[in-house]
């Protein structure tokens, strides 16, 4: 079924009785060419591009809960490609380009809104660093724009420019950055994969691997064993747990990140604003709620909730940069489990087990990566060679001394 304005009009006039479920609910087959573990954004995008770009359609996506119930449904929906390092920036720019064409491509409204992202600058050193980042973005074909304090005062008069500790001296804009309706991303990719023959199997937890003589031949699941020529992990915050079932230790720790939403307000913030010095970021959803967050809680966690000191820290960050936020009532908060890698950058790679592949380590930045992650992982699965823009995202990069450390923090996941 294709969506169009005409179709909406017709359904509207005939009682909306013609809409069909967006994907099937098939029984798992005994065997597939490719089994993808994890029905989050990345797993579904991988299945979609495998089917669409490489014609591999004998594929199952196995999801332990319901698709889109993981981090893809819990994040603050910011997309951008304002990275610095050559191992990252071209990848995230590919992702932003894919976002720009995504709705036409999969014929689904993901409410992609390029409302801009602004990283505030509070010191001369930070300005130099951000201008350098802007140049790195240009080199990868992205857009960047430096705005001085006067321009920002005119555009965003509600910011606290004269904060004693962190006065606002300017900021780096990426006008093509913005937000996306996160659930629709999962649903759109699921529909696109399903309509090309991919089986999306919900309530099917992978509980073990069938590995013989260093070769992976399938998985054990809560709905019985499933054989596969290739098995692709794509489970974000559960990476450590799932990889352990294959006898692997990863350069990853799981940490909780909280997010917050206020009551609905009339439009007050035009784009996404980030306050790096205090670590706070905020945007306004299409329903009017202010959506914001800050740092991870800072210690290993699989509890999908955080603790109060970080709530206080985030609220202080918000008040410091945007005092008017103190007038809004907070409606809800939640936590998601982040697969924090040792250098803050992700992995898309084969493992030491033949036929077993790994995608993870997305930290708190993997939503923006969803299309490119699927695109590059599908390439790896189809061709058995890394996609050029993901070529640095290897599991052995620490052993080789090639970290992709955007922040220069070293191997301490809670500082990235």
């Amino acid at each position: 079924m294709r969506y169009s304005a005409l179709r909406i009009l017709k359904e509207g006039l005939t009682g909306n009785k013609g809409w069909k479920p967006v994907w099937r609910e098939p029984e798992p087959k005994r065997e597939y060419d490719v089994v993808i573990i994890g029905g989050g954004g990345h797993g579904l995008a991988t299945a979609y591009y495998l089917a669409k770009e490489y014609g591999t359609t004998n594929v199952a996506v196995l999801e332990k809960g319901w698709i889109g119930g993981g981090n893809v449904g819990r994040n603050t929906t910011i997309i951008r490609s304002n990275y610095l390092l050559p191992g990252n920036e071209p990848f995230y720019e590919l992702s932003l380009k894919l976002w720009e064409g995504l709705e036409q491509d999969f014929n689904y409204n993901a409410m992609i809104s390029q409302r801009s992202i602004l990283n505030l600058v509070h010191s001369d050193g930070q300005r130099d660093a951000f201008i350098r980042r802007g140049n790195a973005m240009f080199l990868a074909g992205a857009d960047a724009e430096y705005a001085d304090a006067d321009q920002l005062r005119a555009e965003l008069p509600f910011l606290n420019f004269d904060n004693a500790r962190f006065p606002i001296k300017g900021g780096l804009y990426q006008r093509r950055g913005g937000t996306v309706r996160h659930d629709a991303v999962a649903w759109g990719f699921a529909r696109g994969a399903d309509s090309r023959g991919v089986d999306i199997i919900q309530n099917c937890e992978v509980t073990g691997f069938d590995i013989e003589g260093g070769v992976c031949r399938g998985v054990e699941t809560s709905r019985g064993p499933i054989r596969a020529r290739k098995v692709a992990m794509c489970v974000a915050g559960s990476s450590g747990r799932v990889a352990a079932q294959a006898g692997m230790r990863l350069p990853i720790e799981s940490h909780v990140l909280q997010a917050f939403v206020t009551e609905g307000l009339k439009p007050v913030i035009p784009g996404v604003i980030t306050f790096g010095a205090g670590h706070f970021y905020v945007s306004q959803s299409d329903k009017g709620g202010l959506v914001f967050g800050g740092d991870i809680d800072g210690y290993n966690s699989y509890a999908q909730r955080g603790n109060l000191p970080v709530v206080e820290d985030v609220a202080e960050g918000g008040m410091a940069i945007m005092p008017m936020i103190g007038r809004a009532r907070l409606l809800r908060s939640w936590g998601g489990i982040m697969d924090m890698s040792m250098d803050g950058s992700p992995f898309i790679d084969r493992t030491h087990v033949d036929g077993l592949y790994f995608n993870g380590g997305w930290c708190y930045g993997g939503f923006k990566a969803t299309p490119a992650s699927g695109w590059c992982y599908a390439h790896l699965l189809a061709r058995d060679a890394p996609h050029p823009v993901a070529a640095e995202m290897r599991l052995d990069r620490f052993a080789r001394g090639h970290m992709i450390d955007e922040k220069g923090m070293g191997n301490q996941p809670n500082l990235h």
Partner: protein, 95 residues
């Protein structure tokens, strides 16, 4: 979270800085034949369990001691707190 410091009593976890898995106490022998592999595993690879986890916390805004805290990563429940010094000694790491 409240961490029950063995010397100072119950303290808010916000007074502490977190380092990570307490396996970091077990620094490999730099003269071992496979020291490079051992240090790679030591520095970068983690068990990352869902459940009981022993981890290092530094009482930066207190007595500046290092603690080994046994905590459940699913519930945040803390079941044991020891001085890292005592743990290291019991493992023969320190005089």
């Amino acid at each position: 979270m409240i961490i029950n410091h063995p010397l100072l009593g119950p303290r808010d976890a916000a007074e502490f800085v977190y380092l990570g898995d307490a396996a970091l106490i077990d620094r490999p022998d730099w003269q071992a034949k496979d020291a490079a592999e051992q240090f790679h595993a030591y520095g970068y690879l983690r068990d990352n369990p869902a459940g009981r986890h022993q981890e290092l916390w530094y009482h930066e805004q207190g007595d500046r001691s290092w603690l080994v805290v046994t905590r459940d990563t699913l519930t945040h429940e803390i079941t044991e707190v020891q001085l890292a010094r005592d743990v290291a000694r019991s493992r023969g790491r320190s005089a």
